[in-house]
Amino acid sequence: MTGAAEVRGGPAGDRERLAQARRVIRGGLPEEGNGNAVYAAYVAVIASLVYGVPASHAFFEFVDPAWISRHLTGVQGALVAGTFVAALLLLAHRLGSVRGPVVPDLPYLDHVAVSALDRAVVLRRWWRQSLFGCLLAGLLTGGAIGVGMLIAAVARPVALLPSTLGGVAVGLGFAAAWLWGQVRSWPTGSRSLGTVLREGRSLRSLHHVGLRTQSARAVTMGGAVLAGDLRAARLDVTAPGTRLRHRRLRARGPVAVVAGRDLLGLRRSPGSLVVGAALTVGGSWSLAHATVRGVPTMIAFAGVLACYLGYGAWAEGLRLQGDNAGTPPLIGLRFGPEALAHLVAPSALYAGTALLVGAAVMATSPAGVAAVLWPLAMVALVGGAHLMAAFRGLPPVSLFSPGSAVVSITFWYARPLLLTLIGGVASSALLTRSGPSNAVAVLLLASYAAVMLGRRRVRLLDEAHRA
């Protein structure tokens, strides 16, 4: 009777009932308000002024403004910008299926979100925080780009307006695609285009189980990142595939069957196959153009980065072997040769793509035969770097020192990428500035270092469990 009386005398609307629930969760303490969000925004503004604007300025100084105006204005510029924005929206949509903008903590989901309260009211707070973050990030990025262009004298002051407004628009699009990705991650319910940027509809479409999965994943990933264990985060993010189960792995020789395994794995993960192809095509295209005198070094940088990421999308077999290091062997190949066998499939795919793209560039531009050979010549460098990356194991405990842990662990993880970028960009720059012999010598040296360091990492990880 007492309970019923309390219910009758309790708050009537969803907002009031939610406010009461939040008071209970806080243990009677006053509402903190949006102080944390305001402080985060304050830090973001300071960071964009201190780091963003100088970086943007340096970028536009570094990249030849005349080359930009020749190649990235008009229709070509619109195409490049459109492709970039489309890729960003696709990324946001994909991100939403893994970790959306609406991820309350587990107790809140289990005790408040499952109640009869309107889910749009219950989840609104998290969505609006994410939306605010996206808009602010877009605003600051657009502003920093605009100011950087102004300081570098690449554009007039009036360009600041479209760059800032464009940044806000992209931020809004990113938030919309992010939430839509989260809505569509649950296979049933209202998930059509009609839910995009419709706050109430979208939030009511979010399923409790889906929210719970994402919340638990966020906790796991947070722990993995704090511990420097990106492998755990990767395995948690990438859902195991179920495609092409009827297609069997064909028996072959020891190395060929490992390469066949990797190719079958890629066919069962078409997303990785397509992403790897898109990145390798783009990277090879950039590297082929970087062989022409006068093309900014930034193009070679973008090319090497894209080639590294593209090769990585195809090298899942290599990473899976690294994940399983230390277990008793079932495969008839020794650990080292097995790792090298896992390089066959991504290297063959990379080489084929680089050759085709290089030939296409040579046929359609003033680039010479170097356009065909140069992207192809990067294969040992990116392959060796991925050998280093797949078998790097966990960062040493000594890196987790107070004060510098984030920087030192980031550097520890980025070593394969840094080696690739330094070797690839330096050799590409030398190619057009001091001749092919110096460029080839630097590339050979970097490739040798990457392969040797990679093989050393394989050996060390293989033996690490024997202590």
């Binding site: 009827h246 020891p254 277990t327 008839g332």
Partner: protein, 229 residues
């Protein structure tokens, strides 16, 4: 870069796998930072013989199996296979010793049967008959209906049978199994006992850590009690 013939020449051929083996542990023990994982233990196992290791949790059964598999260095004593030190990096050890110690390597993007074909191919199995032999083993373990499942689609008991299938499918003269009966129902435990007895008859040396008295009675020639570490 990876000549198949050269690899085959490095690994002992099928002929060598038919020979008798003797697995010996002489006073092997393991300590890490003063913590005793395994007290000094002696063990000799020959071809066609099955030794069951018994002991309370934490007595060091798994540690002994890891030393016998050559994946862990003993702190004292020595473990040999035909008078050669056991080292998983040694191709001769790898060719003769198969072990199920915890969860073995599994690829998330391969089905159950793909794993068997992959393992068989890397051990130089006959290419023409790989599929048939893989199917036969899955039938023997009564998991042939799971052929096209991915590892993450298996129940815990099915996972255990899948792991056993992978270990049993590769050629070996020594079989080391750490609680192979775990998560299996009574019928599947009987089935496992029959398969292990068949391996014993083929001349394989078995060392099995086991808590199931029925399975122990069915397969053991000797039972070695491991003292609590």
């Amino acid at each position: 870069m990876f000549p198949r013939r050269r690899q085959a020449a490095r690994e002992p051929g099928p002929g060598l796998l038919q020979t008798a083996v003797t697995l010996t542990a002489s006073g092997v023990g393991k300590q890490i930072d003063g913590n005793v994982l395994l007290r000094p233990t002696d063990l000799v196992v020959g071809s066609g013989e099955c030794v069951v290791l018994r002991g309370p949790n934490g007595s060091g059964k798994t540690t002994l199996l890891r030393i016998l598999a050559g994946t862990l260095e003993p702190s004292e004593g020595s473990a040999t296979l035909d008078d050669r030190p056991i080292d998983e990096r040694d191709p001769a050890t790898r060719a003769k010793v198969a072990a199920l110690l915890g969860s073995p390597t599994a690829y998330r993007d391969l089905t159950v049967v793909d794993h068997l074909v992959l393992i068989d191919s890397t051990w130089g199995g006959a290419i023409d008959t790989a599929d048939e032999r893989a199917d036969e083993l899955l039938v023997a373990l009564e998991i042939d209906h799971l052929t096209e499942r991915f590892p993450h689609e298996l129940s815990s008991g099915q996972q255990q049978l899948f792991h056993l299938a992978m270990v049993l499918f590769r050629p070996a003269r020594v079989l080391l199994l750490d609680e192979p009966e775990q998560r299996l129902d009574t019928h599947k435990r009987d089935l496992l006992g029959e398969l292990l007895l068949a391996r014993k008859t083929e001349g394989v040396a078995l060392v099995v850590a086991c808590h199931d008295p029925d399975l122990t009675t069915a397969i053991a020639d000797r039972v070695v009690d491991i003292a609590d570490a």
